[in-house]
């Protein structure tokens, strides 16, 4: 069965493999990490990869592999929480705008237009600078600034669905609007939202690591892949392993989510197969 799934959906298969391994890593970090990710050992600093330290050690003598394993917790949780927040906001805004139309729709979509003119990353940077960097703040800020695409998507789906007979039937029997939206409209728009959410987790992980890389994200000594790169960039000339492995971890994780998302798109909507991101 696995073989058949693999040959029919290679994207989802590989994406699934990467993400499963990663989640396992994050869940079992305290047992599989060979060293304490935070304890410094200054006599062992900047050691190249060896049999004792597979990915070498950093400038404080901490084991890079262990920090990488613990860092997966930060990336996964930021991705998951941030995306949940913006899916919630985007779905609410999009379905209200699409369902009610009129001035509500006009006002909400103008707000979306305005937000689209400000580069999201700049917006996030500004807000982070004011409220201060911490994991929770990052999750919330990515969540409240990145919902515009979801809102547009859901609005489009709702607009297409609301003229269909089953929605009109629901309205005719006197169902409340909130119930129509929650029970009949949204479940039918779930597919594309799920795809966007999966791809979005990869995107949120990229944003988190960029912020941590700029020193405005997860603060040391808590290991995150972004702040490992930030600390490693000062040793560009004498410790290549400090920037190579964390970057590779980010890349593989985001790749995993992208593969999974695209695979999901193929699975849910065969018409779009091979047509790329819309």
């Amino acid at each position: 069965m696995i073989k058949r799934f693999f040959s029919h959906h290679p994207l989802m298969f590989w994406g699934g493999v990467i993400i499963t391994l990663l989640v396992l890593c994050a869940l079992t970090a305290q047992w599989i990490a060979p060293y304490d990710p935070i304890r410094q050992n200054l006599t062992q600093n900047l050691l190249p990869p060896s049999i004792h330290h597979w990915m070498g050690t950093d400038q404080y003598g901490r084991d890079v592999l262990s920090r990488l394993i613990y860092g997966s917790r930060v990336s996964l949780s930021v991705g998951l929480v941030a995306v949940s927040i913006y899916i919630l906001i985007g779905t609410t805004v999009g379905s209200v705008a699409g369902y009610y139309g009129g001035w509500v729709d006009g006002a909400l979509m103008r707000l979306v237009d305005i937000l689209l003119c400000i580069p999201t990353f700049f917006l996030i940077l500004m807000v982070i600078a004011f409220v201060g960097p911490s994991i929770i703040n990052i999750m919330v800020i990515i969540g409240v600034t990145s919902w515009t695409d979801v809102a547009r998507l859901v609005r489009g789906e709702v607009l297409a669905l609301k003229e269909r007979e089953f929605i009109q039937a629901a309205r005719v029997i006197g169902m409340k609007d909130s119930r129509i939206i929650l029970r009949h409209l949204l479940p039918n728009a779930l597919g594309p939202v799920l795809v966007v959410a999966t791809l979005g987790i990869g995107g949120a992980i990229l944003v988190e690591s960029s912020l941590s890389f700029l020193g405005l994200g997860v603060q040391p000594p808590t290991p995150s892949w972004g702040n490992m790169l930030e600390e490693g960039k000062d040793h560009l000339t004498d410790a290549w392993w400090l920037i190579t492995f964390p970057g590779m971890a980010i890349f593989l994780t985001v790749l995993g989510y992208n593969l999974l998302g695209e695979g999901l798109r193929d699975l849910l909507d065969p018409r779009l197969r091979g047509s790329g991101r819309q």
């Binding site: 103008r110 707000l111 237009d113 305005i114 937000l115 689209l116 003119c117 400000i118 580069p119 999201t120 990353f121 700049f122 917006l123 940077l125 500004m126 807000v127 982070i128 600078a129 004011f130 409220v131 990869g202 990229l206 690591s209 960029s210 890389f213 700029l214 405005l216 790169l229 960039k233 560009l236 000339t237 290549w240 920037i243 190579t244 964390p246 970057g247 980010i250 890349f251 593989l252 985001v254 790749l255 992208n258 593969l259 695209e262 091979g274 047509s275 790329g276 991101r277």
Partner: protein, 323 residues
């Protein structure tokens, strides 16, 4: 056409108002006001001086009054003075803007020249190994963090091969060089940042070019062109490509905010003296007037990019008439 242009320009006004209001409100979220920042660490300062400073900045006025005063000034591109060196914001931005425009302008051109052929070839060899290769490449492109890509390039070309400079826009001794060496110096500094900024859009633009070309190739007029015996190059380049390019042009205009957004991190890594790095510095130093100026100028550039994309669309596709 003139009427369309005028209407588009008028439509930008409410958008700009909204943008300015949102950036203004975000600034109000900031803890610690400029008056206390200006005084800095000096604890022996006279409280009445703080009060005076707050008044001179207008910090005690109601929010809407502050916004109104600020809006009146920015209509004249007067963003006030920066906190850090007390110079006009617009002058500081003006110094940094050319570097950003140079980098993003060149990378838009390069993006177009590289991504479109990649996508068109992929569509032409649909489902063959070349197409597969491009698909894999675009997955890799979507997933690679640009700052890590930048670091790896710095490691490879700057440290290991020692071929290219990894930071700044000019060498320290550049001022004393003859003009032709100065241009070479600038180019050598441009290469790495340019590769990184271009690569960021490569995956998505080539993917779109492929989709758009695939759609066009299936049209009847392409079959007609083939049927009347035109050579394959003529069919592809004269009939198909021109039509496939139309949505790409719009997309390039729309990708401008991403390009500018990306410049914050890329300019910071390469110490490129552009607006992105200025933005990052002013975020760190809580320089509100500078931040607001950058926000408004960025949004203005974005709107301008969208407008240009719309105009190009109307110009390229005679079927589209705006009236």
């Amino acid at each position: 056409m003139r009427k369309f242009l005028l209407r588009r320009l008028l439509l930008m006004i409410p958008l700009l108002l909204g943008i300015s209001f949102i950036s203004f409100v975000i600034m109000q979220l900031a803890p610690g006001d400029p008056a206390s920042l200006n005084i800095g660490m000096n604890s022996k300062i006279d409280p009445s001086y703080i009060l005076k400073l707050r008044q001179s900045y207008g910090l005690d006025d109601p929010l809407m009054v502050q916004y109104w005063h600020w809006l009146k000034r920015i209509c004249l591109l007067n963003f006030g003075n920066t906190f850090r060196d007390n110079r006009p914001v617009i002058a500081v931005i003006g110094e940094r803007l050319p570097a950003t425009l140079l980098l993003s302008g060149l990378s838009e051109v390069l993006l177009f020249l590289v991504a479109v052929p990649l996508g068109v070839m992929a569509a032409y060899y649909h489902n063959r190994w070349y197409d597969r290769f491009i698909s894999i490449f675009s997955f890799v492109g979507f997933s690679m963090p640009s700052f890590w890509f930048a670091l790896m390039l710095m490691l490879l070309f700057g440290v290991w091969l020692n071929l290219l400079p990894v930071s700044g826009m000019t060498s320290t001794e550049a001022e004393y060089l003859p003009w032709n060496d100065r241009i070479l110096d600038l180019i050598s500094h441009l290469i790495l940042p340019l590769i990184v900024t271009t690569y960021g859009g490569l995956a998505s633009i080539s993917r779109y070019a492929r989709t758009s070309m695939l759609e066009v190739i299936r049209q009847d007029y392409i079959r007609t062109a083939r049927a009347k015996g035109l050579s394959e190059t003529q069919v592809i380049f004269k009939h198909a490509l021109r039509n496939a390019l139309i949505p790409i042009v719009t997309l390039m205009g729309l990708s401008l905010p991403n390009l500018i957004g990306g410049s914050f991190i890329i300019e910071t890594i390469f110490s490129w003296p552009g607006m992105g790095r200025l933005g990052f510095e002013s975020v760190l130093s809580h320089d509100y007037p500078l931040l607001m100026g950058i926000g408004v100028i960025t949004a203005l550039l974005t709107l301008l990019g969208n407008l240009l994309a719309d105009l190009a669309y109307a110009w390229l596709d005679p079927r589209i008439r705006y009236d």
